[in-house]
């Protein structure tokens, strides 16, 4: 049992649960993006904890953290691009009013 690893992974699990709740329950696009950000932050905590307490000699784990950070940046850029487009055409970023996007 590695207490630091258990603490870090538990924090990651709690952040994942909170982010999942937020992404599913919010009606505003910007708030949904916030939920996804929390889920990705949980992934970051887990990767760094695995690197530190199990494989500190493996730099590929740190590289993977940079990739997840890139995913966060991409998600923000695309999300806000869609938000601006919707706000300009519909005057709102409420996803309850975006049923036409449903496949």
């Amino acid at each position: 049992m590695i207490p630091e690893l258990i603490i870090a992974l538990t924090v990651g699990a709690a952040m994942f649960g909170t982010g999942l709740y937020g992404a599913l329950s919010q009606t505003n696009l910007v708030m949904i993006i916030m939920g996804v950000e929390l889920i990705l932050a949980a992934a970051l905590v887990n990767i760094v904890a695995f690197w530190r307490y199990l494989h500190p000699d493996e730099p590929a784990a740190q590289m993977f953290v940079l990739i997840v950070m890139a995913v966060m940046a991409v998600e923000m850029a695309v999300g806000f691009g869609i938000a601006i487009a919707r706000f300009r055409t519909r005057g709102s970023v409420e996803m309850e009013e975006a049923r036409e996007l449903k496949g």
């Binding site: 307490y53 730099p59 970023v93």
Partner: protein, 174 residues
């Protein structure tokens, strides 16, 4: 035990802070407060990285998230009908389903954490400078293709987001 009591204590403290501010994001009616709570949550995650001796990633996380959340707060104020939350608008749906999904995700992850055998802890860790040098060698060596792909993906996303966001020409002229 791989570290000192202080290290375990502060890891738990900043972990609790990260989770608490994450919960505050969805509890407050004020969108600006939500963005600031997310900023605090991500900063606490950055401090956890520093406590886990990932200095470069910790500083990167704090710097990147400070910028990202500031931009998010500006977007919040621009797009929200009630950014200050004074009207106490209801902005949630399918709450019960979301609570169940979040709760099940948490319980499932906790079960995996507590029931797994994680093996022995690694005691020796490279110094901060050596870690950064190794990461640089990794990025410009074995993982160069992945790193370049990530950069190209960000560039493509930026161009695509800008294209989606700018108004069509006929709309701008009218």
């Amino acid at each position: 035990m791989t570290g000192s009591f202080a290290q375990v204590f502060f890891l738990a403290f900043f972990g609790a802070a990260a989770v608490w501010f994450g919960v505050v994001v969805f509890r407050t009616h004020s969108m600006v407060r939500s963005a600031i709570a997310l900023l605090f949550s991500q900063t606490a995650v950055g401090v956890m990285f520093l406590l886990m001796q990932a200095e470069f990633l910790g500083v990167l996380q704090i710097m990147m998230m400070a910028t990202e959340m500031s931009v998010m707060a500006i977007f919040m104020v621009m797009f929200m009908m009630d950014p200050g939350g004074l009207g106490a608008m209801e902005m949630t749906h399918q709450k019960r389903l979301s609570l169940w999904a979040g709760g099940l995700g948490l319980v499932g992850a906790l079960a995996v954490i507590l029931l797994s055998d994680w093996g022995p802890a690694a005691l020796a860790i490279p110094a901060a400078a050596e870690q950064t040098a190794e990461l640089g060698r990794e990025l410009l060596g074995r993982s160069m293709f992945i790193f370049q792909s990530a950069g190209l993906t960000i560039l493509t996303a930026m161009v695509a987001a800008t294209m989606v966001a700018i108004a069509p020409e006929k709309e701008r002229k009218s």
